[in-house]
Point group: C2
């Protein structure tokens, strides 16, 4: 048994992101990540199933926040507003990880396989939100349209959040994206 | 050199769809498809790179129609209306293949790997439409929001078109989806 290592998960994540950016995702091994973090491979696999999961472990947490927030919205809430509340509820998860998010985005932008994985993650989150809306009695196709539109608005806001200088407010960017969506859909 | 075979492409496609539905996509070989169509494997590979391409060969044609329609829209056209015109312009491609489209949808619904491929196809088409909008001077994020919303609306309309009984009008279903999107985005 190896001894407890303080913040092993975070150290492994930081080491992995550094190496993915320096050498490329495909060229980096788990052994190198563990070495950079000053930990063992065995410790790596205690936290992550593989080197790709370092980039995608957060999706289950997001799903839980989205689904529970949609479920808890008042009955009178319009579907798109329930989705907006869900996206807003998850912003603290991102806010405390701004610098990591920027690094992660650069890694994904450099690798088509990771871009596909990111696309599947978004589709999976949209499906989960659509199901949560249907559980509230929102019929199809309204449920899917609201969920997928929400994911698009989030993607747009997130892209600005990781690329614009300084510390833009992710919640504000999400609201702007949803407003842009409304204006766009109205044909203006 | 094998002799010319009348409608070899279509015969191979029909044979492939039958086998994918009977045995599953993963369990079907190119040899079996060729045999069912009464053709050789060599003929198969003259039309399709592999057995998956039988299901996805149309995406390049769609891209061309979408991009050229967006490019040809009058200057004053709103982004979402240029996208709507593009989706509408491609409907004849689908209309003449309604029964094949139903079969194809059943095959894809039964196979997670094909669902991922379909998702990537949609993302690729959305990217192409967003680029065509930017070429018209539509700024980001409006270009991407319009393109991705159009793809969502089309997906919703298409799902109804292949599942509803009779011969629903795909153009009409697309218009309904875009109207639903507008209502949804407005928070009603």
């Amino acid at each position: 048994m190896s001894r407890w290592e303080p913040n092993a998960r975070g150290r492994l994540e930081q080491a992995a992101l550094e190496l993915y950016r320096e050498r490329g995702f495909d060229q980096t091994t788990v052994a190198e990540i563990a070495e950079r973090a000053g930990l063992t491979e065995r410790t790596f696999f205690r936290y992550y199933a593989d080197k790709r999961e370092v980039l995608f472990w957060g999706q289950e947490k997001l799903r839980e926040i989205y689904v529970s927030t949609i479920a808890a919205a008042p009955d009178s809430t319009a579907p798109i507003d329930a989705v907006a509340a869900a996206l807003e509820a998850a912003t603290p998860v991102f806010r405390e990880r701004h610098e990591l998010a920027r690094q992660r985005q650069a890694v994904i932008a450099a690798n088509p396989g990771l871009q596909e994985r990111e696309l599947l993650k978004r589709a999976w989150l949209a499906d989960a939100m659509a199901a949560a809306l249907r559980d509230r009695g929102v019929p199809e196709p309204a449920a899917s349209l609201a969920a997928e539109s929400g994911v698009i608005a989030f993607k747009t806001a997130y892209a600005r959040w990781v690329t614009e200088p300084g510390e833009p407010d992710l919640s504000q960017l999400i609201r702007e994206s949803l407003d842009q969506l409304k204006v766009m859909a109205a044909g203006r």
